[in-house]
């Protein structure tokens, strides 16, 4: 299993799937996050391995200037 973390939420997905499929599976719009593994950014075609911990960073911020 691989783990995806978004703020204080955690999701587990099967190893062997791509990051893109994993995001779809847990209902996250890929365009709205950046994924990092060990502090480095990874792309949607990355295949998740057993024990991977992927940190998802939200890209949207709101408010106005």
């Amino acid at each position: 299993m691989a783990k995806l973390i978004l703020r204080n939420k955690e999701f587990e997905v099967h190893a062997g799937m791509t990051l893109l499929s994993a995001l779809k599976k847990i209902n996250i719009v890929p365009e709205s996050v950046i994924a990092t593994k060990n502090g480095e950014m990874i792309l949607e075609d990355e295949i998740l391995k057993d024990g991977d911990v992927i940190k998802l960073i939200m890209v949207i911020s709101g408010g106005s200037i």
Partner: protein, 313 residues
């Protein structure tokens, strides 16, 4: 995916440009592109003094970082809004802004709304009854007022803000939904200055929010990740989410939406009916329907071509 420049493993993929880059080349690409937009939209020169509105968020800190790297004279301005929201929002964003300024040896002006005017933003909003229970209207007003004031008092030529393409597209989307023609005609990368008002520019207006996040991460910029607590549930976030859903299935949709708008606005044709074509219409020799081409209408030409091809086969 591989970096287009060096073939190493890519860290950022920009589907709307069909471009993937490694971290190193991405950190080069973003400032290069910014420089291109600054020139394209005639934002400012190396001789002018720029005041960057810095909030401690990823966009404004990245903008400051990029402008300084490109060799522009860019000082920062931070406005203390006095927003706590249980997460110490203002204190934390100020700390991160000051940290960035110190680490890079940059000049930062700080205005604290409460010190200057007696009350923090949320209190001013309550007292004034403006903005349906949210302080955003008052906050926006105060920020614009204070940025203009500092720019004018300290002699800055230009005010730069970190608005990215998602910010701009969300505003455009909102204004289009209700056909706010006044606002539509004013929205753009540059708002010219007037007597007592500095020119306003948005050098990041063609980068996706996602790209600015990637830049800040790649550059190691320590920015405030938590939203302003009042941003939750805002219309702008709602529009951004909608646009991102569209972007996911149609890469480049956001970019086209914004750029085509800028083109239409620049051409001066937005909302103005064109009559030029009507003047050149003449009947198609074959079917008699009005057409602007010299010969047969487009449909008749299509049928001719199809007939010719079937004959060949």
């Amino acid at each position: 995916m591989k970096c287009r420049k060096c073939g190493e493993k890519a860290s950022v993929n920009m589907r709307q440009h069909k471009l993937a880059l490694c971290k190193e080349h991405y950190l080069e690409w973003v400032p290069e592109q910014t420089e291109r937009f600054i020139k394209k939209y005639d934002m400012f020169t190396k001789e002018e003094k720029i005041l960057v509105a810095v909030s401690g968020g990823k966009d404004s800190l990245a903008l400051w970082d990029i402008l300084v790297r490109l060799g522009y004279q860019a000082d920062g301005m931070y406005i203390g809004l006095g927003i706590d929201g249980g997460i110490n929002y203002s204190d934390e964003s100020r700390r991160l802004t000051e940290k960035f300024a110190n680490e890079h040896n940059l000049k930062l002006h700080i205005v604290d709304v409460e010190k200057e005017y007696g009350q923090p933003i949320p209190v001013l909003a309550t007292i004034s009854h403006r903005g349906k229970g949210k302080p955003c209207a008052v906050c926006g007003l105060a920020k614009r007022h204070e940025m203009n004031r500092i720019a004018r008092d300290l002699g800055y030529d230009v005010l730069a803000t970190g608005h990215n393409l998602d910010d701009e597209a969300a505003v455009l989307f909102g204004n289009t939904l209700v056909w706010e023609s006044e606002y539509l005609l004013r929205q753009g990368p540059v708002l010219p200055g007037r007597d007592g008002l500095a020119r306003k520019v948005k050098p990041l207006c063609r980068f996706y929010e996602r790209e600015m996040t990637a830049y800040s991460i790649a550059r190691g910029i320590d920015y405030i990740y938590d939203e302003c607590p009042y941003a939750e549930g805002s219309q702008s976030i709602y529009y951004k989410e909608l646009l991102n859903q569209m972007e996911t299935t149609r890469p480049g949709a956001k970019l086209t939406f914004y750029l085509r708008f800028l083109e239409a606005r620049k051409s001066g044709d937005l909302f103005i009916e064109k009559n030029v074509e009507a003047a050149h219409l003449h009947p198609c020799p074959k079917c008699g329907q009005p057409t602007s081409t010299d010969d047969f209408c487009s449909f008749c030409r299509l049928i001719e071509k199809a007939a010719a091809q079937t004959a060949v086969q």
